[in-house]
């Protein structure tokens, strides 16, 4: 049997990337259209925890595609068009936590959760910094506007969402992973 590597992209990764992307898209749509409390407060976007968690559980490519394609799906469902720089940023937000996928031994172990939280913070910040900076040449804004208008609100809220929801998903997944024997 072929040895698993962090960057492998086989059938399992294809399926989980698609599931992650679809979940991200559906949760984003739900936050936009349902009367969830998050809908009235733009700082709450719980869906961003999905690519982060899928990265941690299934590897960086799954995290990246969940974020990239999922953000695209969410925008398509809401009719917002195609924002490639932000799709890329959301992809990075899933890819970076995915870098620790190989070192997770138990999804409910305190050390693993702590490590995941650190990478969630890095992922959320870098993931939102890249598109914010790309907006400088694209929209002709300066660095202050990019940081205050885009990076700070998006980066901070995504960090908070990830920090709270990713551990909850990890602990829940621990039982599922044990049952499936993966």
């Amino acid at each position: 049997m072929e040895k698993k590597t962090l960057w492998q992209f086989g059938t399992r990764e294809v399926v989980y990337s698609a599931i992650g992307a679809a979940l991200y898209g559906v949760f984003s749509w739900a936050t936009n259209f349902l009367a969830l409390p998050a809908a009235g407060n733009i700082s709450l976007r719980p869906a961003v925890a999905i690519p982060m968690f899928f990265g941690i559980a299934f590897g960086p490519w799954v995290g990246f595609l969940s974020g990239f394609v999922g953000n695209m799906l969410g925008d398509f469902l809401s009719g917002y068009g195609f924002w490639w720089a932000w799709d890329l940023g959301n992809g990075l937000m899933g890819l970076i936590p995915g870098l620790i996928a190989g070192s997770i031994t138990s999804f409910k172990d305190g050390k693993s959760i702590l490590l995941a939280e650190v990478f969630v913070i890095i992922g959320a910040l870098i993931g939102m910094l890249v598109p914010s900076l790309l907006e400088i040449p694209l929209s002709g804004i300066d660095i202050n506007t990019a940081l205050i208008g885009y990076f700070l609100p998006a980066g901070l809220s995504n960090t908070i969402n990830g920090l709270i929801l990713v551990p909850i998903l990890m602990v829940a997944y621990d039982a599922v992973a044990a049952r499936s024997g993966r």
Partner: protein, 293 residues
């Protein structure tokens, strides 16, 4: 409640093109727009994008939400940039001396005073920015409304993406209705148990934690089902050879014309900006004279 794609057949001229040709054309135009800050050229691109929008036969009712979202962001960002920050743009904008309005804003609580010096140069730069950002946004806004979601897999495969990535996109589009249905079923089930989604209260952390009864079952259910899908695909030898697709896309003459037009626009833009060094920020003299005395 059903989740629905924005696409529906409208019988528009735009829909007769191959989706690959439309993506290529859109990217060519996008990268052409990025070259310029001259509003005369940008208005040309804006005209092209508006023409494309008209061809799409979209109605205000369908796109109202997208317009509000787009205009809100553009106004906020351009406003922030021109008023508060105002350090973007070429030297002619930054060193502008035709002051339109000067003042200061005091931020409550932190007592931070922001000095605002709004010059006519900054105002015209903001107008140029709006035209440019609106052109880029409108260029892609029509995509979800006018390209059939069933064709995304074959489209991106045909554009050179690896099969597995293209298939990921195809699967993701197919999973959306199922997962949305699962989400709504879970929401109803939790409501039946007394979970009041409309009345989640408390701080941000508390609110997010209370969303777990919705997010966790849907996610875990999808993951468990994913194992079966993986097994089924493995049993059918997924990924052993280059896959075929149930739908086939065929370029026609009009598609080649569209791609060539996009390529020509990009090549011309590249030549005008890089070789001729034309297309930087421009402002008419008469605009400066509008400063109230």
């Amino acid at each position: 409640m059903l989740v629905t794609w924005r696409y529906r057949e409208r019988g528009s001229f735009l829909e007769t093109f191959d989706p690959r040709a439309r993506w290529f054309f859109s990217f060519f135009v996008l990268f052409s727009i990025v070259f310029f800050w001259d509003i005369r050229i940008l208005l040309g691109f804006f005209g092209l994008v508006v023409f494309q929008y008209i061809l799409s036969k979209l109605t205000w009712k369908e796109t109202r939400r997208a317009w509000i979202f787009m205009l809100f962001f553009i106004v906020i960002i351009v406003g922030l940039n021109a008023l508060i920050s105002g350090r973007a743009g070429p030297p002619s904008v930054l060193q502008g001396t035709h002051t339109y309005w000067e003042g200061s804003l005091k931020v409550p609580l932190i007592n931070w005073t922001i000095r605002i010096n709004l010059t006519m140069e900054k105002v015209f730069f903001a107008i140029t920015q709006i035209v440019r950002m609106l052109s880029m946004a409108m260029l892609f806004m029509i995509i979800p409304f006018t390209i059939d979601p069933r064709t995304y897999g074959i489209t991106f495969s045909g554009m050179g993406l690896p099969d597995r990535v293209a298939f990921t996109m195809d699967l993701a589009f197919r999973f959306v209705p199922t997962l949305a249905r699962d989400f709504v079923t879970t929401l109803d089930a939790q409501k039946a148990r007394g979970y009041e989604v409309e009345r989640i209260e408390g701080g941000i952390i508390s609110q997010l934690r209370k969303l777990a009864p919705l997010v966790v079952p849907v996610t875990m259910g999808a993951i468990v089902n994913g194992e079966d899908i993986t097994n089924a695909m493995d049993l059918r030898c997924f990924g052993i050879r280059k896959r075929t697709w149930i739908d086939a896309l065929q370029y026609r003459t009009r598609d080649y014309v569209m791609i060539a037009s996009g390529g020509l626009i990009f090549a011309t833009s590249f030549f005008v900006k890089v070789v001729l060094n034309y297309g930087s920020f421009w402002m008419p003299e008469w605009f400066l004279n509008l400063v109230p005395i």
